[in-house]
């Protein structure tokens, strides 16, 4: 087996093990309903984390995704409720705006030589601020299209539901896996993460790739925003606060190195599911106070990363 697949395998095993452990404590967690919820409830996070994976693979970071999600929900709501546009038109506009936003950030990162951390931090302030300027208040969306989408799902045996948003996430992962591992663009992303100088000398179009990466990340954050608005039928400037950190954690738990160049989109999926698992377990348990919730989330994050380090240790490489 390809050695580089090992972290992926390890993460998957850790997930299965953790799930078994959770089920042994809370038997009710073993149901298609819970599994369906995993997909639906984490759809927006998963989609955003896919974009984050590309960014991190290229050696950057995108702190703006949560804010872009929030902004998109508000924009979609404004377009539908105030301007009376059809949701599909609203989605298209919102996705274009988000993509352009990301492209501008990517251009700033490349041409101004400012670290992505800072550019996307400014982007985060801008998107959050822009959302609250559009409408500080939350806007409910009432549209037959929304109700129709919400009511369409595939009923799984056992009462679980595979919803539209869940399916969108699965589709995004499928496409992203191909994009990352089977296209030239994907290779270029990994190349940038390996060494930007070498990549440039080897003929990777650095500017175009950088801009595309951040545009893709913001596009997916926008799509996550669309999903979020479908999920809640509302737009709200404070939606998805801090989701960037969840996404980063999911990517890292999924085995992608923050320094760039190593990792898998599929690992991110497991990372997202692991986070969903932790939260669901805490809800099922129902005895943790607010502060213990935070502590336990932190400790579990630590344990997953520690486990991974141990697996990595087993596969030493020359430094």
């Amino acid at each position: 087996m390809n050695r580089s697949l090992r972290p992926l395998l390890a993460t998957t095993l850790i997930f299965l093990f953790a799930y078994m452990l959770a089920v042994s404590q809370q038997p009710a967690m073993l149901s298609t309903r819970v599994l369906g919820n995993f997909l639906t409830d984490n759809a927006f996070l998963g989609i955003a984390a896919v974009g984050m994976t590309f960014v991190i693979l290229s050696g950057g970071i995108d702190l703006s995704v949560g804010a872009v999600i929030g902004f998109t929900t508000v924009l979609v709501a404004v377009l539908i409720m105030w301007l009376q546009l059809h949701p599909l038109v609203a989605f298209a506009i919102a996705l274009i705006v988000a993509t352009a936003f990301g492209a501008v950030m990517g251009a700033a990162i490349h041409y101004l030589k400012v670290p992505s951390f800072i550019v996307t931090l400014a982007g985060m302030f801008l998107a959050r601020g822009g959302a609250s300027v559009l409408s500080p208040d939350s806007i409910g969306i009432n549209h037959p299209f929304f109700s129709a989408v919400q009511k369409s799902y595939i009923l799984l045996p056992g009462g679980g539901r595979l919803t539209v948003v869940g399916m969108i996430m699965l589709a995004v992962f499928a496409v992203a896996i191909l994009l990352a591992h089977r296209t030239r663009f994907g290779s270029n992303v990994y190349a940038l993460g390996g060494s930007e100088t070498s990549a440039a000398l080897m003929g990777v179009p650095v500017a175009r790739t950088t801009i595309s990466i951040y545009a893709l990340s913001s596009f997916l954050a926008g799509l996550a925003g669309v999903v979020f608005s479908l999920y809640t039928s509302a737009g709200y400037s404070l939606n998805a606060l801090g989701v960037e950190l969840d996404a980063i954690a999911a990517v890292v738990i999924g085995g992608t190195l923050l320094t760039g160049g190593y990792g898998f989109v599929a690992g991110t999926f497991i990372g997202v599911m692991l986070q969903g698992l932790v939260q669901t377990y805490i809800v099922f348990d129902g005895t943790l106070s607010s502060w213990w919730t935070k502590i336990v989330v932190g400790v579990l994050l630590f344990m997953f990363i520690l486990l991974q380090r141990l697996v990595f240790r087993a596969a030493p490489r020359r430094t």
């Binding site: 309903r33 996070l45 609250s132 208040d137 939350s138 999920y231 669901t280 129902g286």
Partner: protein, 302 residues
Amino acid sequence: YAEGLQGKVIGFSQIGSESGWRAAETSVTKAEAEARGIDLKFADAQQKQENQIKAIRGFIAQGVDAILVAPVVATGWEEVLTEAKEAGIPVVLLDRGIEAPEDLYLTSVASDQVKEGRVAGEWLVANVGDKQCNVVELQGTVGSSPAINRKQGFEEALAGKANLTLTRSQTGDFTRSKGKEVMEGFIKAEDGGKNICAVYAHNDDMAVGAIQAIKDAGLKPGSDILVVSIDAVPDIFAAMVAGEANATVELTPNMAGPAFDALQAYWDAGTEPQKFIITESKLYTPADDPQGEYDRRKGLGY
């Protein structure tokens, strides 16, 4: 209490623990549940709606008997509440109402946030009389519904009163330190505070911060600058005892008590509770035994 709720499993999706008031609500809810023998499943959403939705879904999957939600925002609940309804689980809303068909929840136990702001404003209007008075406002977190509603209510009360003008309004994020920082800025910008006659804070924590800023500027809170706020947490009563705060509007942390009562009546006798149980927005001033109020509240977990 009667047998009614003994052994029932009830899920409670709380917003988080962002303020002392919120912590008090959590501890009061837990205490109420314990007194009634309820097995309360508590889930902290850390200020995120998506976490609340996940929690509710989790409760449904677990098959709890009822669900309490303190919604972080008014919109976006229809889908998940429909799911709860289909599963036959009654839902009770706490703190605030939501924008969703009324048949999706059993009842809503909430305060009227607009009214809170109005009560505070009316107190101020009554107190300054015809004197010219410039008011500064410390808003809650931008976009949060208490901030929007309390601002609206306050402005309604001031409407048409030419002598009362809202000169400055900034967000203090519902926190003491931001409240203090913003008030500091206001004082500097308004001629060392001489142009400010009153400060209205969307919660007591910011008011406590503002009081300190006023003192630091060499002015006397409570007389040089009037202080009116909302929530009625213990520390604002302590300030009243010291003569540094003038009025607060109570937001009771006991939302769960009425909610449990409604559930019990519903299960025992099948009585549909009224759809909106509005908690009282009671005004407290230094005339209302602030020391006593302080002592009564201190143990509640604020």
